[in-house]
Symmetry: C2
Subunit: 708 residues, 2 copies
C-alpha cells in the first residue's frame, strides 16, 4: 500500500492535500497506528516558534508538540530552548522550513530527516513519557486531517529523524510561572481530558496570550477567535462570521438602509454568476479583477459548456439591464443597491475581514441624467460611510479623493474614507464611492433621448457605484481592542452591559444568594426595558473574576457588579471595558446613568482613536522625511503633483530607503508609501510649492502611508 493510500485510510476526515505531504515523510508511514478511530485518544497540537535571531544568522525554528490540553507559554519555551523571545513563526518562515505549507498545517509528521538539522523540537513530557497504550491524534500534513499514532511511537520516530528533542513538563513549568494578570481562573470547568494540574494552564488559553504591540497579527487572530467574532475555515481565505460580528454588520445595514432609502435607493438582488462575455465587456475594469476571478466549470458531473464567473463586483452584471430598463429620461435616476457577497480569489496572504476571498458588502449602482446629480450623490454616500465609521464604529477616517493611480478601474474618479491602524501605523482604505462618469454607459449603451428634444444628441447616463464591506469590522477591532480582548463600541455591541453577581462566599446563605440574584435580574430587566442590550451571568461554576475576564475578552462595553455590600448601600458598580474606570450608580437612577455612560464610551473611543490618528499625520516637504515618519508609525501629508509616474517613484524610493534604514520585522515589512487620498480638507498650498516627489509644481496635498 502506498504512503498516500495508507494515510488516506487513516484519515478521519478524507483525502490528503497532496501539496501538504512532505517529500519523504514515508519514514512515518510504518508506525501510524490504526485504520479506524480508536476508542480513546488524546488530541495534540503542533506550534512553530521563531526565537529572536540576529539578522546575520539563520533562525532555528522550535517545533512544539504537545497534548492539546497542555498550556505552552512562550516563556516556558524560551527557557527550555535557551532562546530569546520566541514568537509564533510567520507564514513565510514556516513555508521555508516545511516545504511550503501554512503554519496551521504543520503537524508532528512534518518533522522529517529532511528538516531535522535545521529545527528543534520541544516535546511535551506527557507524550515523551507516556504509557504504551496512549494513542494521540496528529495532523499528518494539513490542519483539517487527523491520523492516529501511539505516543511512544511518535516520540521514538521524532528521535529517529535526528532532530534535537527537548522534553518539557509543561504542567510543572507553567505552575511555576506566574499567570498573566488577565488570565481568568475557572472554578470547575476544564477540558475533560486534562490532568488536575493542567486545568489552570488550560484556562490560560481562554485569555489573550499575545501582546498587541509585539505580535500584532497573532494578537489580531486571537482577539477575533477568542472573542468569538470569527472562526477560521477549512477553505483558505474564507472565514466564519459568528453572531458577534454579524450583529455589527446588521447594525450597519439598518443604519445605511435608512439613509439610502431616504434618497430613493431601492434594494434588489442580482445573480452571483456572470458570463465571461459580460464580465469582460469593460476592458480596463476587468483587467483590475481578472486575476482574482473564481470560475465555475462543472455542475454535478457535467462540464459546463462555458465557464461561468462568480462576481468580483457587479458593474458588468447589472449594466446590461440598466441599458434595457432605462428607455427615457423619466427612468432616471435609477438607484439600486444590493447586500451580497462577492468573491475575489486573492493569492496574497489572507487576513480576517481585511483580505478575504469571499466577503459581504453592499454595492450601490446608480444612473443619473447629469454629472451634477451623480457628483452630489457620490459625496452624500461618502458622508454616510464616514458616519458609519464615526457614529457606529467609533473610528475616525479622512475623506478624500483617490489619485489617478489608485482610482477604481474603469471609473471617472473615486472618493474614499481612509482609516489608520495605530499599532502598525498603516493606512487602510475604509470604503469607496466612485463616480464612473459615462465610461460604462458608453460601453453598455445606457442612453436616453435628450429631454431638450429628439434632434439633440442622445445622453449617456452618468453613473456611480459605491461599496462598503465587512472590512470595517476588522478596522474597528484593530483600532480599539487591547490585550484583554475585544473592545466594542456600545452602538454595535450585541451585548452592551453584563450584570455579574459578586461578593458571595462559601459562607453566604441560600437566602443571601437568592436576594443578590433576584436584584441582579431586576437590574437586567430594568435595563432591557429601557432598550439596553443586557445579559446576566449567573453561571455557578465560575468565579466573578473569571467571568470578568470572559466578558472583557468579548468586549462588552460595561460590566455591572452587584453584591451584598451594594445592596446595603443601594448602589451598583459599573466598570468600563475601554478604560477600566469604576463608577458607582445609585439603585434608583442607574438606568439613565448606564445609558449616558454607554454614550460616553462611544464618544471617548472615537476621541481617543481620533487623537491617535491626528497625532500621526506628519507634514513633509521632502522625500527624506518620509521613511523616518513611516517608521515611527506616521502617515505623511505632502504636496504632490498628482502624476502616476511620480507616485510610482515615491513608492519605490520610500521602499528602498526603508530597507536600507532601520531593522525590519518580518511581520511588518517596510513597504513603500502609497497615496491614501487627496484629503477634501486641504491645508493651504503656498504659491510655488513643489511636489514632494518630482519637484514640479504641486497641485494639492496628498496623504501617503504604508497601507493595507
Amino acid at each position: 500500500m502506498s504512503l498516500e493510500s495508507q494515510l488516506k485510510s487513516l484519515s478521519l476526515v478524507g483525502d490528503l492535500l497532496e501539496h501538504a505531504a512532505p517529500a519523504n515523510n514515508d519514514e512515518w508511514a510504518s508506525i501510524l497506528a490504526t485504520q479506524t478511530v480508536p476508542a480513546s485518544y488524546e488530541l495534540t497540537k503542533t506550534l512553530v516558534f521563531k526565537p529572536k535571531t540576529p539578522k546575520s544568522q539563520t533562525p532555528v525554528p522550535v517545533v512544539v508538540i504537545a497534548l492539546n490540553s497542555s498550556a505552552t507559554p512562550s516563556s516556558v519555551i524560551a527557557k527550555a530552548t535557551n532562546t530569546k523571545d520566541p514568537r509564533l513563526a510567520a507564514t513565510d518562515l514556516v513555508a521555508e522550513f516545511f516545504g511550503g505549507i501554512a503554519p496551521a498545517d504543520v503537524g508532528a509528521l512534518s518533522v522529517t530527516s529532511d528538516n531535522a538539522e535545521k529545527i528543534k523540537v520541544v516535546l511535551d513530557s506527557l507524550i515523551a513519557e507516556a504509557k504504551d497504550d496512549l494513542i494521540v491524534a496528529v495532523h499528518p500534513s494539513a490542519a483539517a486531517k487527523t491520523a492516529f499514532i501511539k505516543a511512544v511511537d511518535l516520540a521514538a520516530q521524532l528521535n529517529a529523524t535526528g532532530v534535537e528533542v527537548i522534553t518539557v513538563n509543561f504542567a510543572e513549568a507553567a505552575s511555576a510561572a506566574p499567570a498573566p494578570a488577565c488570565t481568568p481562573t475557572p472554578k470547575k470547568e476544564a477540558a475533560p481530558t486534562a490532568a488536575t494540574d493542567a486545568k489552570i494552564d488550560g484556562a490560560a488559553l481562554i485569555g489573550i496570550t499575545v501582546d498587541k504591540d509585539l505580535d500584532f497579527p497573532g494578537w489580531y487572530s486571537q482577539i477575533l477567535t477568542k472573542g468569538e467574532m470569527l472562526d477560521y475555515y477549512d477553505v483558505s481565505g474564507c472565514y466564519i462570521m459568528r453572531p458577534a460580528s454579524y450583529f455589527v454588520w446588521e447594525q450597519i445595514q439598518e443604519f445605511f438602509n435608512l439613509k439610502i432609502k431616504s434618497i430613493g435607493v431601492r434594494n434588489s438582488y442580482f445573480p452571483m454568476f456572470v458570463s465571461s462575455r459580460v464580465l469582460e465587456k469593460e476592458k480596463d475594469h476587468i483587467e483590475g479583477f481578472a486575476p482574482e476571478v473564481a470560475w465555475v466549470t462543472r455542475a454535478g458531473k457535467s462540464e459546463l459548456e462555458e465557464p461561468i464567473a462568480i462576481r468580483p463586483t457587479s458593474e458588468t452584471v447589472m449594466y446590461p439591464y440598466y441599458a434595457k430598463w432605462i428607455r427615457s429620461h423619466r427612468d432616471l435616476p435609477l438607484k439600486l443597491n444590493q447586500w451580497n457577497s462577492v468573491v475575489r480569489w486573492e493569492f496574497k496572504h489572507p487576513q480576517p475581514f481585511l483580505r478575504t476571498r469571499e466577503f459581504l458588502w453592499q454595492e450601490g449602482h446608480t444612473a443619473h441624467l447629469t454629472f451634477d446629480e451623480a457628483n452630489t450623490e457620490v459625496l452624500q454616500i461618502l458622508d454616510w460611510y464616514e458616519a458609519i465609521y464615526r457614529e457606529l464604529l467609533a473610528v475616525p477616517v479622512i475623506k478624500g479623493k483617490k489619485t489617478e493611480k489608485e482610482k477604481f478601474a474603469g471609473g471617472f474618479f473615486t472618493t474614499t474614507c481612509e482609516g489608520y491602524i495605530p499599532t502598525t501605523g498603516r493606512g487602510i482604505q475604509g470604503a469607496t464611492s466612485h463616480c464612473l462618469g459615462q465610461n460604462f454607459s458608453k460601453m453598455f449603451n445606457i442612453t436616453v433621448e435628450n429631454p431638450e428634444g429628439p434632434e439633440k444628441p442622445k445622453i449617456f447616463a452618468w453613473q456611480n457605484s459605491w461599496g462598503l464591506s465587512t472590512r470595517v469590522i476588522g478596522v474597528m477591532v484593530m483600532v480599539h481592542s487591547d490585550n484583554k480582548g475585544l473592545v466594542l463600541p456600545p452602538r454595535v455591541a450585541e451585548t452592551q452591559v453584563v450584570v455579574v453577581p459578586v461578593g458571595l462566599t462559601a459562607k453566604s446563605t441560600p437566602e443571601q444568594r437568592k436576594e443578590i440574584q433576584d436584584s441582579c435580574r431586576k437590574i437586567e430587566a430594568d435595563l432591557a426595558a429601557a432598550g439596553v442590550r443586557v445579559t446576566g451571568d449567573y453561571r455557578d461554576n465560575y468565579s466573578p473574576g473569571w467571568k470578568f475576564a470572559d466578558w472583557e475578552l468579548r468586549g462588552v462595553p460595561l460590566r455591572i457588579e452587584f453584591g451584598p455590600q451594594d445592596l446595603k448601600k443601594q448602589q451598583l458598580i459599573a466598570v468600563r471595558r475601554d478604560n477600566g474606570a469604576k463608577l458607582t450608580f445609585g439603585l434608583d437612577t442607574f438606568v439613565s446613568s448606564v445609558q449616558a455612560e454607554l454614550e460616553k464610551i462611544q464618544v471617548d473611543l472615537y476621541d481617543k482613536a481620533k487623537a491617535s490618528f491626528d497625532g500621526h499625520i506628519t507634514k513633509a516637504d521632502s522625500l527624506d522625511k518620509f521613511v523616518p515618519a513611516l517608521n515611527t508609525k506616521n502617515v505623511v501629508l505632502a504636496p504632490f503633483c498628482g502624476e502616476e509616474a511620480c507616485e510610482d517613484e515615491i513608492k519605490d524610493k520610500t521602499a528602498r530607503q526603508g530597507q536600507e534604514g532601520v531593522e525590519v520585522d518580518e511581520k511588518a515589512p517596510s513597504m513603500g508609501a502609497k497615496s491614501l487620498c487627496i484629503p477634501f480638507d486641504q491645508p493651504e498650498l503656498a504659491a510655488g510649492t513643489k511636489c514632494v516627489g518630482c519637484g514640479q509644481p504641486a497641485k494639492f496635498h496628498t496623504l501617503f502611508g504604508r497601507s493595507y
Copy 2:
C-alpha cells in the same frame, strides 16, 4: 473565412455559443451585411408559435419574424396562418425543430433548408417590403448575439430556404382588431423608431397579453417581467430580483428575524465555499445534492489544486464548527441562522422563484440537548413559516409531516407547509423545518458530556435545520395575480396606495390643475404620515386610464382617484386592485378608511385563496378516484400506509392512468401524484381503514397531488 469566424466578426457582443449554431446555416453566411455596427438599423424579434394541433398530427410551428416595434398578437397570427389558438411554443418543441436550442435563442437565421419543410414563417411586411437600404439586426443563433443583414436579403434568403413565407402587415392587422380591455393607451411616449400607426400596438405590449387560464407559464413570465418583479438573466436559471420582489423579501426578513431572535436564534454568516471532503461527509445527505453541486475549479488563470463546491445547503459547512464550539452541555442550545444564497445547478427547466440555480433563503441550524427541545423548536418554526404565508403573503398552506420517501436526505423527520396553485391544481412545497435527530451529530461528532455525570455516556446533540426561500414570492404571485397584472397583498407591497389625479381635460385651467395636484399631494402626505406606503402619479404624458392600467400591472393594492368632482363633494374614490370594487371615502376620514381597507384586502385575499384550496381537496378511498380528481385540479386526501414502495406505486399508477385518460397539454404534463404531506390536522381514521395504494392497514391520511 469560416462561417463561425464570419459570424464572430459580425457579432456585437462576443463569441457565438457553438451549440446554438444550426448545422447548415452557412447558407446564410454570404449575405450577412457588414462587419461593423451600421449607422442605423432596426431591431427585429423572432417568436415561435405552436397552433393547436390534434394529438395524432405533428404540429407545424409558425416562426414570426418582425420588427421589434411591430405588435404581433396571436389573433393576427392565427388569421394569417389559418390556424387555431397559436401560443408561444414550449421549450421541447423548439428544441425538436431547431436543433436543441432554447426559444429565446431562435432567430431569423434559425430557418434553414433543413427545417424549411416542417415550419411556416410569418414575415412582417415592414421587412418583406422594405427598401434596399434598411438594415436589420437579427440574432444569428443565440438571444444575446446580434448580426446585421439587409432586410431585402433576409426576405430573399428566407424564400430561398424553401420555407412557406406568409407576409403580414401587422400595423394594419392590429389596428383592425379591437385592443384588449386592459391595454393602456399612452398619450405621448412611444418607442422612438416606431411608425405612428405602430404606437398603440407597441403600447399593447405594456399590458399582459396572455391569459392566466390558457397559458399559465406564459402569463407567469409576463406578470413577473411586466410587473417589474423580476428580469431574466443571461445565465440560464438565474434571475434578477428587482426592487418590488426584493421588498417582499425584506418584509419577510424583518418579520422572521423578530420571531427567531425571540427564542435566542442569532444570525451569522458561513462561507459559500465547501471543500469536497466536508461536503461529502454525510453520505445520504450528499447523495441528494451531488448532481446539482456547482464546482469552482479555477481562479484567475490558475487551476485550483482541489475543486471547491458552492454550498447547496450548509449542514456540512457548519457542523464541523458546531463540533468544535460545543464542548459542554452549557453550550447548548446553539441556535444560528443565516440569510444567504445557495446554488443548486438543476438541469430541469428553470422557473422564476420556483426553481432557480441560485436562490436566496434563510437557513437555521440548531443543536439541542434533548429531543423534546429540538422537536418543540421544529414545530415552532413551522408555525412561523405558516404565519409568513398567511399574515404577509395571504397564502393558505397546510402544515404536516413529510412521508419517509419525501423527507430531507439524512434527516430524522421533515415538517412542511404545503401550498396550492389553483390555476394548475398542483401542490407546492412552501417551506420545510427538519428535525435531523442525532444523525449529523454522530457524523460530525457533536457531543457533550452527560449532565448527569461523566460516568454516563456522552450525549450526541439533537439537531434541527429549517429553511424558507424566495420561492414563497413565486407562490404568492401565482395565487393572487390576474390578467391585468400583479395582485400584491398590502403587507408586502412596496407601494400600497397610488394617488392619481383625474377629471382634468384640455379645458381645465392651470389653477384647476394646481388645485387638484395640491390636493392629491396632501392626500399622499396624510397617508405617508400615517405610515402608509404611498406614491402619487403626476406624469403629464399619460392619461389617467393608462396610469390605472400601469399601476394595476404592478399590483398596487389600492388606487385613489381624485378630481374636480371629488373636490366639490369633499371625497375621494378608492379602487381595490384585487376585486375592482370602487369605494368613496370622505376627505376628513379617508386615512383610517384606507388603512382599514388595506387590512380588509389582506384578509380577503387570504380568504379567497383559502376557499379555493379548501374547495379542491378531494377525499378518496380508492386509486380510481385519483386521476379524475387530479385532472379537475384537486389534491387528494387519502388513507395511506406510509410505505415508500407503496408511494412509488401510487405515483406510477396515477401517472399512467393520466396518460390514458384526458388529452394532455404539453405545458401541464399529467404527472403522477406525489405525497405532499401527512397533515397535522387529520380526519378521523375509522378502524380497519385500508391504505389507498396497497390495501394494507392505513396509518394516517396523507395529502397527494401533482406537485411543483
